[in-house]
Symmetry: C2
Subunit: 435 residues, 2 copies
C-alpha cells in the first residue's frame, strides 16, 4: 500500500469551489432497466397479491413456499433467535435498544391548542401512523442495528403495528436480525424482500397488510420501488452512499482519525471520507497512519478504493474556514475532533449528526449512542433531518370558531375570497356572519 495517496485540496486554491463540487458529485441517475423491472414487479403484486409475491420470492430468493403464511415468522420464532445468539450480543443489543428508546422518547410531540378571547379554539393534534413497514436487507448486508434504529422510533411514536420484511435468500436466516426485531417490538415479520416486498407493503395483499409508510435501507431495486410507491404510502429518504467529514485541529491521535475515516470507507467503494484540518503536518501524519493501518484491515480493498476515488484531505486556514467548508458539504456524519467542540458547533449549520470531541467516534453513533443512524446523505442535511419519532407521527390542524369568531373572521375571509374570485368560499363564510 506504499503507493497509496489521497486527494489533497486547499481551501485557498483558486479552483477550490470547482474541485470541491467534483469531489462531492454523485451520480444518482436512474437505471432504465431497473425501473422497468421494478414497475413490472409492482404491477404484478398490485394485481395478483400473494400469488405474485410467492412467485417472485421463488424466482429471486430461491425460496419455495406454499402460501404466504409459510413466509411469516411468529413471535415465538423471533424469541428463539434472541435466545440463540451469544449472550454478549444479546446484552449489547438490549443496551443499544434502551439508549435508542431513551433518546427518541424526547422527540415525542404533544398535541396542543389555545383559546382566543371570543372562544375560538386553534390547535394541532398529533397522531401516530396506524401501521409502518420496515425493510431490512438480507444476506451479507444484514444489519441488526438498522432494525433497532428503524423500529424503535416507530414504536415510541405509538405506531400500532410495525411490519418487517427481510429476505432470506436460499432460506438463510440471520438470528441477530431477528433478535433485534424481538427486542425492538416488531409486530409481524415476513421473509420476503426486493421490489415485491415493497409492493406488498404499499398495496397490501391477502396476507400482508398495507402500511402507511415504508422505511429502511435496500439495494437499487428496493430504493427504486420505494420511489415508485411514494404517494400511495410515505417513505423515509432515498439514501446515497455514506459519508464522514472529520474536522481536526491536529491534536488527535492520527491513528484514531485514520480509523474513523476507514469506518465509513469500509461500507462500500462509493462511501466518502473527508478530513479537514488547518495543520498540514497532521494531514501528513494521518496519511502515514492510513498507509500503515490499511494492510491490517479486513476490508482493505474496499477501504482503499473508497479513499482513492472519493476521499480527500482539505487544508484550511483555521477552524472557522473548516466550519464554512463543512456547511457547504452538509455532511451526513461530522466529527469535531477539537479541543472546544461546543465553540465550533456554533458555526455548524448543516449536518445529519455531529460527533463532539476526540472521544466520540462516529461508530458509537452507528450503534448505541441513542440518536438515529439513519441520516440525510449527499448534502440533503441542508433541508432534512435524521429519521425520528416525528417521521412516524403526523399533525392535523384543529380549528373551532365560536359564533362571534366566525362573524369576525368571516368578514376577513369574504374580502380575500372575493379578491381571489372564489365566491362559494366567500358565501360559505358569509352564511356564518351575523345579520
Amino acid at each position: 500500500m506504499s503507493d497509496f495517496s489521497i486527494t489533497r485540496l486547499n481551501a485557498s486554491q483558486n479552483d477550490f469551489d470547482g474541485s470541491l463540487a467534483s469531489l462531492l458529485a454523485w451520480d444518482d441517475s436512474v437505471d432504465h432497466q431497473v425501473n422497468e423491472s421494478v414497475r413490472h414487479i409492482l404491477a404484478q403484486v398490485k394485481a395478483r397479491g400473494d400469488a405474485a409475491v410467492l412467485e417472485f420470492t421463488e424466482q429471486f430468493d430461491r425460496l419455495k413456499a406454499g402460501s404466504l403464511a409459510d413466509l411469516e415468522m411468529s413471535k415465538e420464532r423471533l424469541q428463539q433467535s434472541l435466545e440463540a445468539i451469544p449472550q454478549n450480543q444479546r446484552t449489547a443489543l438490549e443496551a443499544a435498544a434502551q439508549r435508542i428508546r431513551d433518546y427518541h422518547e424526547r422527540q415525542n410531540q404533544q398535541s396542543w391548542h389555545y383559546q382566543e378571547a371570543d372562544g375560538t379554539v386553534l390547535g394541532q393534534k398529533v397522531t401516530p401512523l396506524d401501521r409502518a413497514g420496515l425493510y431490512v436487507p438480507g444476506g451479507k448486508a444484514a444489519y441488526p442495528s438498522s432494525v433497532l434504529m428503524n423500529a424503535i422510533p416507530a414504536k415510541v411514536a405509538g405506531v400500532a403495528e410495525v411490519v418487517m420484511v427481510v429476505p432470506t435468500p436460499d432460506g438463510q436466516v440471520n438470528d441477530m436480525v431477528l433478535a433485534a426485531a424481538a427486542i425492538a417490538g416488531v409486530d409481524r415479520v415476513f421473509t420476503i424482500g426486493g421490489a415485491q416486498a415493497v409492493g406488498a407493503l404499499a398495496y397490501g395483499t391477502e396476507s400482508i397488510p398495507a402500511v402507511d409508510k415504508i422505511v429502511g435501507p435496500g439495494n437499487i431495486y428496493v430504493a427504486t420501488a420505494k420511489r415508485e410507491v411514494f404517494g400511495t404510502v410515505g417513505i423515509d429518504m432515498i439514501a446515497g452512499p455514506s459519508e464522514i467529514l472529520v474536522i481536526c485541529d491536529g491534536q488527535t491521535n492520527p491513528d484514531w482519525i485514520a480509523m474513523d475515516l476507514f469506518s465509513q470507507a469500509e461500507h462500500d467503494e462509493q462511501a466518502q471520507s473527508i478530513l479537514i484540518s488547518p495543520d498540514k503536518a497532521f494531514l501528513d501524519s494521518v496519511e502515514a497512519s492510513i498507509r500503515r493501518l490499511l494492510p491490517t484491515m479486513e476490508r482493505a480493498d474496499i477501504i482503499a478504493e473508497s479513499l482513492k476515488s472519493r476521499g480527500a484531505f482539505i487544508q484550511v486556514a483555521d477552524l472557522d474556514e473548516a466550519a464554512e467548508v463543512s456547511n457547504r458539504i452538509a455532511p451526513e456524519h461530522l466529527e469535531l475532533s477539537v479541543d472546544d467542540p461546543e465553540a465550533l458547533l456554533e458555526n455548524i449549520r448543516h449536518a445529519g449528526a455531529v460527533f463532539m470531541g476526540r472521544y466520540t467516534a462516529e461508530a458509537l453513533g452507528d450503534y448505541c449512542a441513542g440518536p438515529n443512524h439513519v441520516l440525510p446523505t449527499s448534502g440533503t442535511a441542508r433541508f432534512s433531518s435524521p429519521l425520528g419519532v416525528y417521521d412516524f407521527q403526523k399533525r392535523s390542524s384543529i380549528i373551532g370558531f365560536s359564533a362571534s369568531g366566525a362573524d369576525r373572521m368571516g368578514r376577513v375571509a369574504s374580502v380575500l375570497a372575493r379578491g381571489e374570485g372564489l365566491t362559494a368560499h366567500a358565501r360559505s363564510a358569509e352564511y356564518r356572519i351575523k345579520e
Copy 2:
C-alpha cells in the same frame, strides 16, 4: 339544474368498500410528454443558467427581457402594490397574516440536550434552512393567500432568504399577490414561472440564488419539475385535487352545508366534496339546497361537474361509523358539523385539518383562521402533515461522549460492529476504550 343528482352510498351496502375505493381513486399517472419537456427545460437551465431562463420566459410567458435583473421586482415595487390595492383588501391581508404568524409561532421547535451521569451529552440542534424558494402561480389562479401560507412559516422558522417566483404572462401583474409578498416579508421576487423557474431555484443561475427547498402550488409542469429536482433540493408535497369531507348530524342549515361543499367543488372539476350523515332526510335536504343554489353560483359549471363526477353523499348508521369512514378517506379538509365536535374528534385519526362545529366553515381555514391551508391530499393525511414551520427547519443529532462514556459504550459498539462484520467500526470504537 333539475336533472342534477349526486352519487349516494350507504356504509351498510355490500359493495361499500369497493364503491368507496372507486370514488376516491385518483389517476396521478405521469404524462410522458410533459416529463420529456420538463427534463429538457431543467437540463437547459442547469447548463446555461440565466440565458435559458430568459429564452423560456420569452417563449412561454411572451415576456422579453434583456437580463434577469429586468425580471426582478424590487422591495419598493412590492410596496407600491401594497399601496395600490383597496384598503379593505390590505386590512384583510394584514389581519390574515397576523393570525397565520401567531399560529405558526407555536410550531417553532427548540434545540435540546441532556447530560448523562458520566458527562456524555446527547441532543438535537434545530436550525432553519438557509434559503427557501416559493412558487406562486400566475394568471387566473394567482392566490395571495397562498403567498401568506407558504412564506410566513418560512420566515417564522428563521429562513434568512425567501425567494419567490411568479410568472407574469404577457406582463400581467397581480397587485394583491405582490402586496401579500410585501406583508409576508418575502426577500426577493422574480417574475418567472414554469419548469424554468423551478430549475433556476434548484440549481441556481448567475442571477438567481439556489435554494434548499421549493414550496408552493403549480400546474403539471411545475409539479413535474419539483418531482424531478427533489433530492437536489427539498420540496413540499405534490398536491392532488382539493377535497372536503363534511360529517353532519343533520342539524346544520342544509344551505350552509351545500355551500361548504361548493367551496371545494369550485376549485376545479377534479375537486372532491363528500357529505356523510346518519340522517337520510337531511341528505335529501342538502341535495335540494344544491339544486336551488347551484344556478346562483358564478362557477356553476365547474361545481356541477365536480359534484357529479367526484362528489358523494354517504349514509351511515351513526357518527361512530362516520368517523370510521372518514379515517379510511383521510380527507384534506374535515368539517365536524355536529353538536359535540370534541367528542367526535376523539375518533378521528387522519385528516389534514379539522373544522369543529357548525360555525367553522372550511373557507375560514383557507384564509385567516391561522393554521396552514397547504394540506395533505388524496389520503396522504395518513402519513403527512400540513405545511408548517417544521418544513423549514431541520434537526442535527448531537453526540458528545466523555472519556468514560466512550469507554463504556465503545464496548457495546465493538460487540455489535463485529457482529455485523464491520471491523473498522469496531476498532474505531475500541481505540477509545481504556486499557
